[in-house]
Amino acid sequence: MAATQFDPIYRGLSPEVGKMRVAGSGMAWKGIDTGEVIAVAGGDIKSAQWLRVARGFQLRLGLKDRKRQTFDGFKREDLKKVTELLKNHFQITLEEIDVSFKGWNWGVTDFRGQDLAFLVSGKMGFEVPLRNVANSNIAGRTEVSLEFSGPSSKSKHAGDEMTEIRFHVPGVMSKAKGSEDGSQ
């Protein structure tokens, strides 16, 4: 079966561009600079999601053993093609995740497996992987801070790195009030 190619596609948060090929046996990404190949066998894909991120649209693959691979750089128009490929080759339904662009700083935090999600109006604002949290603090009665450890690139071409985020969580100490559960 002929492979379908998407390009340029990024893997994870790496700045390296690459090509992604999808065929009946699985999918593979190959980096242009390093030549590194990431192959995912069709049978290992358990779920697939589609969401808008900074670098275009992201295809997020949930794999066996709760592992995950993300590929950024897809275009809005690729949705139909990717949906069909995943369905026809791997019998996987591509799930679209709604992302908020309201620009609000209030919402609901939700622990989802290995991630902390921040939802605005029931839509995804962003997600941060908990494994990147180096330290957390309860600062004061209603404040929680998370500090991140990351690859600290000294390159001036690297992306900007968030090292800390603080949340104001009014419900921490007084649970008495019945606020609505944001179980979206």
């Binding site: 670098r55 309201k102 620009g103 962003f126 690297a158 968030m162 985020i165 949340f167 104001h168 009014p170």
Partner: protein, 136 residues
């Protein structure tokens, strides 16, 4: 007790109606100030997360070793201890992002970003003041 205070006087605002409104520059995974949309877009783990200037309180930066740190403080309930709270919130009981800190080895760019955010806030405050005067 803040009974019955929720949402009172809050004026709706939003940065973008949909993903198509995001400027192309966000793909660089760097902080971007979109003056037209009155919005600062932060790169958070690969997401482009907009914050309308109305949610931002102030920005400051400081240099530490090889890095420059940019702190953005946001408007949240309960900050004005002892003062009469006059900033309305849509939902004061929600979880709020209170602050974020970013770092970069490019101090010059962060210096510039800090100025842009501060200027955007000043303009927004000025407009708000003018509106109030018109209403009086």
């Amino acid at each position: 007790g803040k009974e019955g205070k929720e949402g009172k006087g809050w004026k709706k605002f939003q940065s973008y109606k949909g993903e198509g409104g995001l400027p192309g520059d966000v793909e660089k995974l760097r902080i971007h100030v979109d003056r037209k949309a009155q919005t600062v877009i932060l790169p958070i783990h690969g997401f482009a997360v907009p914050f309308h200037i109305n949610t931002i309180k102030n920005a400051s930066k400081n240099d530490e070793g090889e890095f420059t740190y940019l702190r953005i403080n946001f408007q949240t309930p309960g900050q004005l201890a002892g003062k009469k709270e006059d900033t309305p919130f849509e939902d004061p009981d929600a979880t709020f992002i209170r602050s974020v800190v970013f770092r970069s080895p490019d101090g010059h760019r962060f210096d510039n970003l800090c100025k842009q955010i501060t200027d955007l806030k000043k303009e927004a405050n000025k407009r708000e003041q003018q509106k109030k005067e018109m209403a009086d």
